[in-house]
């Protein structure tokens, strides 16, 4: 099991980097926001992986159970999930306004229009 000790973190880094790649490589603004969300979701997985204890049960107190997984990261991530939806909504609203103003959601076309002004 020792070889698998860091496996979760490595997959999380991979997922984070796919999200990061979408954000910097794709020129479509909606896809960029999807990439940002992928990045955020992998941060959630990182925190919950850290909170997990081998053989620990969910942190709901019960007679006869002594080992629980760590509830503090769970609380932080609950907050983070809700905040991520709020920021996503704001980002998507900005995308809709950009589409109204420029008629496109492709980043390079927006730059071209800005330069031709």
């Amino acid at each position: 099991m020792d070889t698998f000790g860091l496996f979760n973190y490595w997959v999380v880094v991979f997922l984070m980097m796919t999200g990061f790649y979408v954000v910097i490589a794709s020129s479509n603004l909606v896809k960029k926001i999807v990439g940002l969300n992928l990045f955020q979701a992998s941060v959630f997985i990182l925190y919950i992986s850290m909170s997990s204890v081998k053989g620990g049960s969910a942190p709901i107190l019960e007679e006869g159970v002594t080992l629980y997984s760590n509830p503090l990261p769970h609380v932080l991530i609950l907050t983070a999930i809700v905040v991520s939806v709020a920021t996503t909504a704001l980002g998507l609203a900005i995308v809709v306004r950009i589409r109204e103003a420029y008629g496109t959601v492709e980043e390079d076309e927006i730059h071209r229009q800005d330069e031709s002004l």
Partner: protein
């Protein structure tokens, strides 16, 4: 069994993320993101974080997806094919990823009960909360009582985001009506 489930779910997460990169149809990309959220919710259940799991399933996989689909209906559905090769982003991502992987070598092993994260305030939360608050769900106790100000701050963020969205989109329909007149 739990470890196997863990590895399988992480593998599926990696596949959906790769599919989201490759697809050009934005509807499919959004669906991939929704599947990604649902898979991560299942992973949270496996790791014992049930409260996080149902929030992620409802809010991450549900509300986020609806918001993205709404945006697609107001904008365009297909992404334009890229104009040039993406070598520089790939390089940046690889270097960053390698640095982060290097950082994980100092981290405690997955599921290790002696990790520092499990020996600070958390033991007190679990031991003292039955006397101090008296409901069985520790996550609820920490969220609403011990760290209640965090939750208040979260409300401030949601309120600000709501005001922002209203300021950006709220006046639109009124303006359109005036234009028609």
């Amino acid at each position: 069994m739990t470890e196997l489930l863990n590895v399988v779910l992480l593998g599926f997460l990696a596949l959906t993320a790769l599919a989201a990169i490759r697809l050009r149809d934005l509807f499919a990309v959004v669906m991939m993101f929704s599947i990604f959220s649902l898979l991560s919710a299942s992973l949270f259940v496996v790791m014992g974080a049930v409260d996080v799991a149902f929030t992620e399933a409802a809010v991450g996989a549900g509300v986020s997806t609806v918001l993205m689909l709404e945006t697609l209906s107001l904008t365009v559905r297909r992404e334009r094919p890229p104009a040039h090769r993406k070598l520089l982003p790939l390089l940046v991502v690889t270097v960053t990823g390698a640095a982060l992987i290097y950082g994980t070598f100092d981290m405690p092993k997955f599921g290790d009960p002696n990790a520092p994260i499990h020996h600070h305030v958390v033991t007190r939360y679990i031991e003292a909360s039955p006397q101090e608050i008296g409901i069985p769900n520790v996550v609820t106790e920490v969220l609403a009582s011990y760290r209640g100000f965090d939750t208040l701050g979260e409300l401030a963020v949601i309120f600000t985001a709501g005001v922002g969205v209203m300021a950006l989109l709220g006046t639109r329909s009124r303006r359109r009506k005036e234009n028609r007149r």
